[in-house]
Amino acid sequence: MQGDEFTQYVRKYSDMVYRVAYSCTHSAPDSEDIMQDVLLKLYICEKKFHDDEHVKAWLIRVAVNRSRDVLRSVNKKRTEELQEGLSVSDEEPSSDLHTAMAGLSRDHRLVIYLFYYEGYSVKEISKILRITESNVKTRLKRAREKLRAFLNDE
């Protein structure tokens, strides 16, 4: 990939990759590392992309896979609990929601992010994550229920 083209993609998608990684790991340092790994893979990959949407979906897919690898590592398992409570940016996100999101599983966080923030449809999420549409719906439903329950308790 040419430098200018790559820089454009970084400008456009680095935050998205970071958010996907964060949705999976809920760890800011890990998300930074994952984002760099994923973007590096984009730069050196020889895959022919059809369009920007294809690049975007590929980046999400790779970010999810890379996040899983990170989560599988022994070190990650040991430190995961410590990372859970960390805030992400200097501006503390709405703290109750942050805590509620931390209480979701990574799969639930991921579909919430893709559906509500990235605006993907259930069908599109199903394709990106390679799970059934029913599964996407179920995850969305349960994530919403958990969020709602948590926020109502606050």
């Binding site: 790559f6 400008r11 899983r68 919430i112 923030y117 994550l129």
Partner: protein, 396 residues
């Protein structure tokens, strides 16, 4: 959900995109230079790998028997599995990326022993055994690299099944899928699914979460698992049946993983052999909706509706231990004016009779505002039918 947007707005990398891009490009270029100085090391490493055999992983795309057979056979309710014998020949199916072709050469045998033979070939004619590579980062694999086969053994009561492979003269893979049933197959479901490409990391991910202790879970018994980790439904380390409670298992279509070794030579395609087979018992019988059913899928035994919710009692032929009915279902009510009221189903755990001939579900439903928009009330006198996964059951 504006709060969720604000939440994610507050999550971003602190690195500037330009600097980030520069750093990454620099890192990549630096790595490339290093690589260029060690071609011999790469060759040597490759040789070691090849001598030792490359363990294959898996593949992409989903192939099920319905797709294979297409419109050639009827899959109506009374269809018996034995009628599949001889019903389809030379049916060709092309994978989603158009790179590979599955040729169903035929179905033979008897009701007891059915043999499906299909060939996996490249669309452009090159043999599939030509080469193997590692799994790319996005998990999309060439079909030739690895093959995962999924035969839903749970569809056979106390059934049995085997696979056999051979490399044919064209260098493609012939797969013999022998399903042996135990006793009369009438009334049982026949279902076989080939997962033509699935990322092995899905399996790894699965295995990382569950220490499988019962591979031989039986043809109609979901495997049990010792589970560790964060599932609030179970104590860590306690045996549990994840099929009952773990929604994440629903997305895994893992039944068989076939691993190959590969030794390159002028006749590489002939030297490729199967070295290992291992099974992962399917946990998700609901997926059988995509397969061939040889008996009525289910019937409604009772139903009750209020203006905002309801309950449907169902009976399904076949023994489905602990299957839940709250996922993978598309349920809606059909009103006499043609309106559809989409429902959310939940708490539909199956029970079964002593003879394990059928499973019954009692499914609570709610009229989904999410799917229908605001609902004030449903006039239950106008409910004419229930549709479940596309199958319509008249209540009149």
């Amino acid at each position: 959900m504006h709060r969720i947007e604000r939440y994610y707005d507050s999550i971003f990398t602190k690195q500037s995109p330009e600097q980030l891009a520069r750093d990454i490009m620099k890192k990549a270029d630096s790595s490339a230079k290093k690589r260029s100085f060690r071609p011999l090391a790469v060759v040597a490493a490759a040789a070691v790998v090849l001598v030792g055999g490359v363990t294959a992983a898996a593949a992409t795309g989903l192939l099920n028997i319905n797709e294979l057979f297409g419109g050639r056979i009827s899959t109506q309710d009374e269809q018996f599995a034995g009628e599949l014998v001889g019903a389809a020949q030379d049916f060709q199916w092309t994978t989603s990326d158009d790179d590979y072709v599955i040729n169903l050469k035929g179905v033979t045998g008897s009701e007891r022993d059915m043999l499906l033979l299909y060939e996996i070939a490249r669309a452009d004619g090159r043999p599939v055994t030509e080469y193997m590579t590692n799994i790319p980062e996005d998990g999309e694999l060439d079909c030739a690299e690895n093959l995962g086969f999924d035969l839903n053994a749970g569809a056979f009561k106390a059934g049995n099944y085997r696979y056999h492979y051979s490399i044919n003269d064209d260098g493609n893979i012939d797969v013999y899928n022998l399903a042996v049933t135990d006793g009369d197959i009438s009334g049982q479901q026949f279902y076989a699914e080939v997962i033509n490409l699935y990322p092995k990391q899905l399996l790894s991910d699965f295995e990382a979460k569950h220490d499988i202790f019962d591979w031989a879970g039986g043809a109609d018994t979901p495997a049990g698992f010792y589970r560790w980790g964060d599932n609030e439904a179970f104590d860590a380390g306690q045996p549990c049946d994840v099929a009952l409670n773990d929604e994440r298992i629903i997305g895994l279509e893992l039944e068989w993983t076939i691993e190959f070794t590969y030794s390159p030579s002028d006749t590489a395609k002939l030297s490729k052999v199967i070295t290992d087979e291992k099974s992962v018992v399917s946990l998700n019988y609901e997926k059988s909706y995509g397969g061939v059913w040889t008996y009525p899928l289910l019937r409604i035994t009772d139903s009750y509706f209020s203006s905002v919710s309801g309950r449907i009692d169902l009976v399904r032929e076949g023994y489905m231990r602990g299957q839940t009915f709250d996922t993978c279902n598309d349920i809606y009510l059909l009103l006499e004016n043609g309106d559809k009221i989409s429902c959310t189903a939940f708490t539909g755990v199956s029970s079964y009779d002593r003879h394990e001939k059928m499973s019954s579900f009692s499914v609570e439903i709610q009229y989904s505002e999410e799917l229908n928009g605001p609902i004030t009330a449903v006039d239950i006198s106008k409910v004419e039918a229930i549709s479940i996964n596309g199958e319509v059951f008249s209540l009149i």
